[in-house]
Symmetry: C2
Subunit: 338 residues, 2 copies
């Protein structure tokens, strides 16, 4: 069976509609029994040998004639087909109201374009393509790496809330020491219940508590630390630049939501976050790793793969805090096996 | 017992030499029974209450008077003391031939400055200090994060070699397709024995092999791929810039050393590396994760912590390839609990 290129698609006549669309979910029915295929669909049928040639081109010649960026899309299409899914290119005419920034609508196994269910909205890309953080949240990224292996990353926009209830005590004295703050005589609850700071002598002994600049700036603004708010902010900005304000906004949003952020340094993140803290002794497992993004951030897929792999390995949910006018706009990214 | 500041040190008279140096490894003996302490040592004795004051300053006042960067050094000194080590500041006069770029010489447990053994050469820093990659290889980094928790990272300069023996077959045809290369009719050994490329139909079926640009450029230069070397290089540089040449040099060095590099994308690295590959079926666990550094690279401690944590989690050795005139200069970084 042969096809011909027409208007950026491939048209196949004969009983193509019945063979490829009705039976297997390819393409867009035209008048009669003809079928229009996107280049990716046509390439897949050529690859399988179900289609013989397009304008005389077999699979190899057809592939050589495609535009840059075709390979990742073809590999993802093929992989999802191999996994038993039917899927449609998210192209005007192929699906109703195609969502922006998405390459394929993938139907639940056993379903197809004639049903209304969508299992995944997939965006296919090569590992060298940057991805704006703001374009994610309702799609699956399918990244083809340089060796053509695929990694699927699910993105979502969760709301986050915890169950920690703790009101910091009234103003205690703090001393700014370079890029940290020491509270020499803290009320016990500040660390013990609120999980602020780190005792100077280790978790067991000593009274003095070391606070990070973010903790200090937050507590000072809450009136819980007798330290000039401007001084804390100034020091934070001096050592971190505008990143400090971004991190502080995220820290505040997390505390306000009943969560407890602590440094995520050992995980390469801004914060590890506990859901509910009743006391330091009964501390559970941190539930989230949070990375704070500058506005307009674009992900490098390789760095994203690193963060996702690490979070998965330590069984925490990976959250990115995107800047927005009313506090952070949460984006979660996790591994997916379709 | 009181001390006084003198020439950037703290001098203590009385029986200080006997009490603090001979018995516990602090300071540098002066004439008579006096002892000179570095500010970090003095701060530690003040913290413990073994020293009462320096020029009238107790621990708090002494700390407030220290230079930026003092806190991480003090925290590391204290932590190593808490772990049962004796250590000396790597300062002229305190130790013979103090190594550059190192803050402390740490003696094996049970030993001290009067012995010749050194267990660790420790460089203490805050998480916001950048570290030139070229300054590492024979020291332990001790990083104090913003909450004053410590992470120890051991650095070394290993030599790497594997046991893979495979000579790629003579020139096979390859087609450049955007940012990858397809070999339509590869000899079976190319993938099966040499672990080059990835079959288009998955590991099991199909003949066509997809090569990364790095694999293709290497094979072309070896005469194993009938693809213009300049074309492969040009395409690589077009999609990656000078990073491509760095990665290719590292790839070649690894192959030349009998190792088998494959993409490290899923781990956020440039390559995962197998020690000895006899065939794809009997593939073991990749032994290394390799990240290729641009020349003059400075590590951000947080990113380094991320890489180290991930590599540890997947039980691989983390290697950085630093640029040098004769191929990569290897740097390994791993977690350490002193």
């Amino acid at each position: 069976m042969d096809g011909r290129r027409r208007d950026g698609a491939v048209v196949v006549d004969g009983d193509a509609r019945q063979r490829f669309h009705d039976a297997r979910g390819y393409g867009r029915p035209l008048d009669g029994d003809s079928l229009a295929l996107t280049p990716v669909e046509a390439a897949h049928l050529l690859f399988r040998g179900d289609l013989h040639a397009v304008d005389g081109d077999g699979f190899r010649a057809f592939l050589a004639d495609t535009a840059p960026g075709f390979a990742p899309r073809f590999l993802v299409y093929k992989d999802l087909r191999d996994r038993g899914f039917y899927l449609s290119p998210a192209r005007e005419g192929w699906v109703a109201d195609p969502p922006g920034g998405v390459d394929f609508l993938v139907y639940p196994r056993g379903k197809g374009p004639w049903d209304d269910d969508v299992a995944y909205r997939v965006r296919a890309l090569g590992e060298r393509e940057q991805v704006p953080a703001d374009s994610l949240g309702d799609c699956v990224l399918a990244v083809a790496d340089e060796e053509s292996d695929l990694t699927y990353l699910e993105t979502a926009e969760p709301s986050v809330a915890g169950g920690t209830e703790f009101d910091p005590p009234a103003a205690v004295d703090g001393t700014l020491l370079d890029d940290r703050v020491v509270v020499w005589d803290p009320p016990e609850a500040l660390h013990h219940r609120g999980f602020y700071g780190r005792p100077l002598s280790g978790e067991g002994g000593g009274d003095a508590l070391q606070l990070s600049l973010v903790e200090a700036a937050y507590l000072a603004a809450e009136g819980a630390l007798a330290l000039d708010v401007p001084r804390a902010l100034e020091r934070g900005r001096a050592v971190e630049g505008e990143r400090f304000d971004r991190r502080l906004r995220t820290y505040r949003a997390l505390r306000d939501a009943g969560l407890v952020p602590k440094t995520g340094f050992k995980f390469g993140a801004d914060f590890r976050v506990y859901d509910t803290v009743e006391s330091v002794e009964s501390l559970g497992h941190a539930a989230y790793l949070v990375r704070v993004l500058p506005s307009g951030h674009e992900f490098d897929p390789r760095s994203l793969a690193l963060d996702v792999r690490l979070a998965h390995g330590v069984r925490k949910e990976l959250l990115f805090a995107r800047a927005s006018d009313d506090g952070p706009d949460w984006l979660s990214v996790s591994r997916l096996t379709p």
